[in-house]
Structures are given as C-alpha cells and as structure tokens.
C-alpha cells in the first residue's frame, strides 16, 4: 500500500478529528480525498506538522492527529524529545514512513535504510510507540484514538504518489476555518 491507499482507509476514522497534515503531497492527497474544516493543511514549512500538533494538543482538549512523513520527521528530529517530555494524551503522531521524500521525486530517506524511526522515538523517551504495516494502520489508529494516551504510530508503507491537484485554499482561510471549528467543538464539550 502507498500513502494514498492508507489515507483512503483512515479518512472515515479521522474525519471527525482535528488533523495537522504534512506539507506537499500528503496534504494534497488528504484534501483531494476528504476536505474538512478540521484539516490544517501545511502549505509550507517542512517538518513542523508534529510541533504544530503538539502545541495544539497541549493547550486545549480536542484530540489532535498530526500526519507526518519519515522525511519530515528526519528534518525536525528535535520534535521527538519535546513530545516525549511534554505528554499530551490527546495527541497522536502518525508517521507515514514510505522510506522516501515523496513530494520531491521519491528520493530515498535514511528511514528506509538503517534508521528506525520507532526506535529513535523510543530512545527519545516516547512511551507508546507502535510500528505497523500499512494494512494495519487503520486498526492501530482506531485503537490509539480510543486509548486516550499519547501515541506515536510509524506506518511502514510503499513509496509512490497519486496525481492530485495542489491546494488552492488561502492559508488564512485554512487557519480560520480550523480555529472556528476547534472553538465550536471545545464550547460544545464544555456545555
């Protein structure tokens, strides 16, 4: 399975949750499959999906799922100790690990070679780290959502992209609709 095939399986699971999605093709594929106001698409800034997601999770109650890639985690390795040492049980980091820089032409990453991101996450102090196959990702993600424990999922899959259009939504609109929905959900829950 490729990232797109995983997305097809997890869209029904994540559509009612707040998602911060990685730059480039991951955001474009998610946007193409199921655009939601609860999706925060990163149009730039490689590597920060996990940091934005953690910041969100630390200050409010809604569940936050950051969808990251192996290349992006490699570019912001400092994020893993910060996640490990600031536990937010409403935070899930789903790393789609296809062993390649998908958006730039599928150049191989070190995560597809000798470096194990799940072992790195554990070494950084992350307590709930699950490495799974692409086929099991939906099941593992569902379990992580119901567990109410901060979880790092490393989903090993094949590289390859699907041709989808770029996202044409203004960044300020992406931010505004995401924040509006988050405020609404948090007010609803405090009633």
């Amino acid at each position: 399975m490729r990232r797109y095939d995983i997305f097809k399986k997890i869209v029904p699971i994540i559509k009612n949750h707040f998602v911060v999605c990685n730059i480039g093709l991951p955001s474009q594929e998610l946007h193409y499959l199921d655009d939601q106001p609860t999706n925060f698409y990163m149009l730039g800034t490689m590597g920060l999906a996990s940091s934005i997601g953690l910041g969100l999770a630390l200050v409010q109650k809604q569940k936050i799922i950051s969808i990251d890639g192996d290349g992006s985690v490699l570019t912001n390795f400092g994020t893993l100790p910060t996640i490990a040492n600031n536990i937010a049980n409403n935070f899930i980091l789903l790393i789609i690990d296809n062993g390649s820089y998908g958006s730039t032409g599928d150049q191989p990453t070190y995560a597809g070679k000798k470096t194990s991101l799940s072992e790195v996450a554990r070494a950084c102090g992350c307590e709930n780290v699950v490495e799974c196959s692409s086929e099991d990702t939906a099941k593992v993600l569902k379990k992580a959502i119901t567990s109410n424990q901060m979880t790092i999922i490393v989903s090993k899959c094949q590289s390859g992209n699907v041709k989808v259009p770029v996202i044409d939504i203004d960044p300020v609109v992406i931010k505004h609709r995401f924040m509006t929905e988050l405020i609404r959900k948090n007010l609803e829950n405090s009633d």
Partner: protein, 165 residues
C-alpha cells in the same frame, strides 16, 4: 521591579499563556521566571523553528504564544517565519537576546549581530531594540501591537539592556 519581572508581568497581563524558549545566557533570569510563573505554560524547544511550530499550534488552540531565543536563530527560522507565521497571519512576539553588541565577549556572535537587523528588515518584521533598562516600558505596548497586527514582531535586547552579559 527588575526588567525580567516587568517582562513576565507584561506577558501575563497580555494573556500570553504559552511560551517556548531556546536558552541564552542573557535570557537566563527571565526564562527561569517564566518557568516558575503559574499563569504561563513553558515548553522548552530544541530548535527555534520547532518552537515556532509549537507557538503556531498553541495560538490556533486558543492561547496567545511567544518565543524567546537568540538572534542567531534568525538564520534558522527564516523559512518558518515566512511560510508559517507570516503566510497564515499569526501573531508571534519574539523576545530576542541580541548577542554580538557592545559588551559581547565572544567574537563569533558579532558575525550574526551585523546581519540581524538587515534580515529582519528584509523580512518586513516590525523590530524594536531595547538598549537601556528603561526601554522595557515599551514592552506592554509592543505585545498589544503584535496581537493587533497578527504579525511576528522582534524585540532585540542587547547586553546593555540586561546590564551586562
């Protein structure tokens, strides 16, 4: 009231509830006070662009956020400032230790100091330079200006402001 106490109290009065820091010797006292302040969630970050990601998340989660860092970080964070903070129009007060000014004992710091203001100007980031202790009285207004304008704003604080390195 010390400059550190004024800075912490201005953060609190302006409802800045989430602060990330990458340390600098000049900022040590104010970082310590932020860490002990009950009204502020202090999350240290490993690199300044990571910190700006945390701040963007906290801001979208409904909390005003800020970052404290050295001016050397400007080199690290240009892409993040442009493609995240500015592109999505998010406010971000940046309390910056302006190393490499008069009183600096480490020559290498001067190399980045000479580029700091030029880079901030190129990025069209409103920039304020605190040189004397009394300049701290501007901090409250600068915070208000930052959240009104929804921009990253730089407050450069040099060795004289901190009463020595």
């Amino acid at each position: 009231m010390s400059v550190s106490d004024t800075i912490v109290s201005d953060f609190v009065n302006n409802k800045v509830e989430f602060i990330t820091t990458v340390p600098c010797k000049q900022l040590a006292d104010v970082i310590d006070k932020i860490d002990k302040c009950a009204e502020i969630q202090h999350i240290p970050s490993n690199k300044e662009d990571e910190g700006m990601g945390l701040c963007a998340g906290a801001f979208m989660g409904g909390k005003r956020s800020a970052i404290m860092m050295q001016n050397t970080a400007i080199g690290v964070t240009i892409n993040t400032l442009v493609t995240l903070t500015q592109f999505y129009r998010m406010p971000l007060p940046m309390l910056i230790s302006y190393r490499g000014e008069v009183g600096e004992p480490v020559a290498c710091q001067v190399e980045m100091a000479v580029h700091t203001k030029a880079l901030l100007e190129q990025l069209k980031i409103p920039t304020y330079h605190f040189h004397r202790e009394s300049d701290v009285k501007e901090f409250d207004g600068i915070l208000k200006h930052t959240f009104m304008s929804k921009k990253p704003v730089a407050i450069l604080t040099d060795a004289s402001f901190w009463n020595g390195y």
